[in-house]
């Protein structure tokens, strides 16, 4: 190997180390992580919205051909929502716009993530995994209402 090759390999190594550091730092300090994986329990297969305290909600979302259940989730601004996602049939996707919430709904499995809604508005949920003929109809939404109206 000549000098240039060694130089390039070192630079590449440093670049990869930087990327890896960024990933670890985001997960550790900013809590930007991949969805958590929860042991399966049949209770998650029934959709449910539970208010845990004044600004925390727990939502069991059941994805099925071709709708999300619940299709609409209403919370006040400043809420943290814990989503538990599973599927009643084929594999579905669960992507909340502008929130980088991105999970797969898999039969027999539960995916969990927690989202903080700091701005009011309507956040659409799109199924982004092909789930059959009605795939393109499969949407839901999170409606975050301004606090004052409550």
């Amino acid at each position: 190997m000549d000098r240039n090759e060694i130089k390039v390999i070192v630079i590449t190594g440093l670049l990869l180390a930087t990327f890896l550091f960024a990933v670890l730092w985001a997960a550790d300090k900013r809590h930007i992580d991949v969805p958590a994986c929860i042991p399966y329990n049949s209770k998650y297969a029934t959709s449910k919205i539970t208010q845990l305290d004044s600004n925390t909600y727990q939502v069991f979302v059941v994805a099925k051909m071709w709708q999300f259940d619940p299709a609409e989730i209403d919370v006040p601004v400043g809420s943290t929502v814990d989503f538990y996602l599973t599927s009643k049939d084929v594999t579905h996707g669960f992507n909340i716009s502008d929130k980088s919430v991105n999970m797969m709904a898999v039969f027999g499995g539960v995916t969990e993530t927690s989202v903080y809604f700091d701005k009011p508005g309507t956040y659409s949920i799109v199924c982004h995994e092909y789930c059959g003929a009605g795939h393109q109809n499969m949407t839901g939404k999170v409606v975050v209402s301004p606090k004052k109206q409550k």
Binding site: M1, D2, N4, E5, V8, I9, T12, G13, L16, F19, L20, A22, V23, A26, A27, I32, D33, V34, P35, A36, C37, I38, P39, Y40, N41, S42, K64, M65, W66, T86, D89, V90, T91, G93, N95, S97, S100, V101, N102, M103, M104, V106, F107, G108, G109, V110, T111, S124, V126, C127, H128, E129, Y130, C131, G132, A133, H135, Q136, N137, T139
Partner: protein
């Protein structure tokens, strides 16, 4: 060199057959950009449903074309560089398996019984002929490989201390990975999916099947890619008018692919249950590892091309870029390969985004992902395949390429088309536009309550790119079929533009043997996949019944 008629015919058929099917694959590629842009608001056009066509597009372009080509190219490489032809019986049986498999899958897809996309995720159920067809195609490619192993071992005995020819090394490395990664998809299909799709078993472990699929699924992309890498290392330097900067860099890259191609599949599953974040993080690190051979290749190719440019009399730091033979119609393979390399810069870097653990949440399953992989599989892979298909067809049948001026435009037009197309898909993906979705029915339909006008520009870019790509493909089809159906003018010959090394390089022992790399591969594989499978047995509940894509009620038999 001369090539025997039987082997020549096998190779020529293996090149012709998938290109013929590709016309259908390209057609539905264009149709998808039309549906997705909202130009039409319909579920089907010309009796071909969107998702049925999408399945055809994926299976033909990404599985059939690539596998047939890898086998045909492998036969040619082994014969040319080892100066001895592989056993024709293996080549013939391999071809029969692959053709039968393809026809079975084509029947299932065209009759609308297999609109499950090329990933065939259960519990969506396709007709058993679809799965069996896939198995036949894959087993056919194994048989060709077994013939090469026999040939290689004979050669090894007679040339104990010789360097393995680089192309042979790349080809064996590629098929070693292929042989092992396809075992898991064979298990997925034969043990789990087939009995379940026939109604012999009631339910299927969905998460396990997905994991078995991705054990295969990411190695698959290197199986697509490595034939182009072989061309970059062995042909491109010569085509550019220079010499290869470092042969050992190439050998090392191919060996690294053996170790790291497979144990990275979980990076396709960051968003799903059953696999813990620790397992996901570990495979993130391995995925970063496999960018190393591509970075090495990028450097070696740049150094090689710079040398070629300077030899052609270029001046200054970047002058060499202007001196390369871009538009030489006699040297058209250069255009095909260089356009692929340019696309792969973007394809590779966007791939690192996908592999980056939580960053994946921004892009997973959005149209960003097809934006990325069209700059890899429809970039260096596709261009190297169609270019080399034309090259080999012309040489092996003794028919000079027809319409050389049309031909020279193909890669450049394609490159421009892909860049526009992928820009559209990726920018749309960042806005949340989903992949694999008939957007025209709802999201791009002003009459629908789901209408998303913010996705108009991105899907319009993809449409424009798609039209340009289709024009390029049309130019290619005219050139290819024009050449195939012309009269023989020269003696058939098997010949490659063989490159020399720039430096006098020593033989490095460990780069001249496969065994150490295969052992390391198996160790890393076990480290990466035992935890993944254990996670699934711990976190996943009951299995699923089969579902037709058209009905939310489980199928009964």
């Amino acid at each position: 060199m001369k090539i025997s008629k039987p082997l020549r015919n096998v190779i020529l058929f293996e090149l012709f057959f998938p290109i013929t099917l590709l016309t259908l694959g390209i057609y539905h590629g264009l149709m998808q950009t039309i549906y997705r842009s909202g130009l039409v608001h319909s579920a089907a056009e010309a009796h071909l449903d969107y998702y049925q066509g999408l399945t055809l597009h994926g299976v033909i372009n990404a599985i059939v074309l690539t596998t047939f080509f890898a086998v045909a190219f492998g036969h040619a490489i082994m014969a040319y560089y080892l100066k001895k032809e592989p056993d024709i019986r293996f080549a013939r049986i391999s071809l029969i398996f692959m053709v039968v498999g393809t026809l079975m899958a084509a029947y299932a897809m065209l009759s609308g019984k297999a609109s499950v996309l090329y990933t065939f995720y259960p519990p969506l159920r396709a007709d058993p002929t679809f799965y069996l067809g896939a198995v036949f195609l894959i087993v056919g490619s194994w048989i060709a490989f077994w013939g090469w192993i026999i040939l290689y071992r004979t050669w090894r005995k007679e040339h104990k201390t010789d360097k393995i020819p680089m192309a042979v090394l790349g080809n064996i490395a590629n098929f070693t990975v292929w042989q092992i990664c396809t075992l898991s998809v064979a298990v997925e299909v034969l043990v789990f999916i087939l009995p379940w799709s026939m109604g012999w078993t009631n339910t299927i472990n969905v998460a396990l099947c997905r994991t078995l699929f991705w054990f295969f699924g990411h190695a698959l992309v290197y199986f697509w890619l490595l034939p182009s890498y072989i061309m970059f290392y062995t042909f491109l330097p010569k085509l550019a008018g220079g010499k290869l900067y470092s042969g050992n860099a190439g050998r090392f890259s191919f060996m690294l692919f053996i170790i790291l191609s497979i144990p990275v599949g979980v990076h396709h599953q960051f968003g799903e249950p059953g696999i813990t974040s620790g397992t996901k993080l570990f495979q993130t690190i391995l995925t970063f590892g496999i960018t190393l051979p591509s970075f090495i290749t990028a450097f070696t190719m740049a150094a090689t091309l710079e040398y070629a440019g300077r030899k052609r009399g270029s001046k200054g730091l970047f002058g060499w870029m202007a001196k390369l033979p871009y538009l030489d119609t006699k040297n058209y393979m250069f255009g095909y390969l260089i356009c692929g390399l340019i696309l792969f810069i973007f394809g590779g870097l966007t791939g690192m985004v996908n592999a980056s653990y939580s960053l994946n949440s921004m892009v997973h399953n959005t149209s960003w992902v097809p934006g990325h992989f069209h700059m890899t599989v429809a970039g260096p892979v596709y261009l190297a395949i169609i270019g080399m298909t034309l090259y080999l067809t012309s040489k092996l049948s003794g028919k000079p390429v027809r319409f050389p001026n049309l031909n020279i435009m193909v890669p450049y037009l394609w490159c421009i088309g892909i860049l526009i197309f992928s820009y559209g898909l990726m920018s749309g993906g960042l806005l949340g536009e989903p992949r694999r979705t008939n957007l025209g029915l709802t999201y791009l339909n002003p009459a629908s309550s789901q209408y998303r006008p913010d996705w108009i520009p991105s899907t319009a870019f993809a449409l424009i790119g798609g039209i340009i790509m289709t024009l390029s493909a049309l130019c290619y089809f005219i050139t290819f079929f024009g050449t195939v159906f012309s009269k023989r003018k020269e003696e058939p010959i098997l010949e490659f533009p063989d490159s020399e090394l720039l430096h006098n390089e020593p033989t490095i022992g460990i780069l001249n043997r496969f065994a150490p790399w295969v052992i390391m591969m198996i160790i890393v594989l076990l480290l990466a996949y035992i935890p993944a499978i254990m996670n699934i047995s711990q976190y996943i509940g009951p299995g699923a019944q089969p579902f037709s894509p058209n009905n939310p009620v489980p199928m009964t038999f």
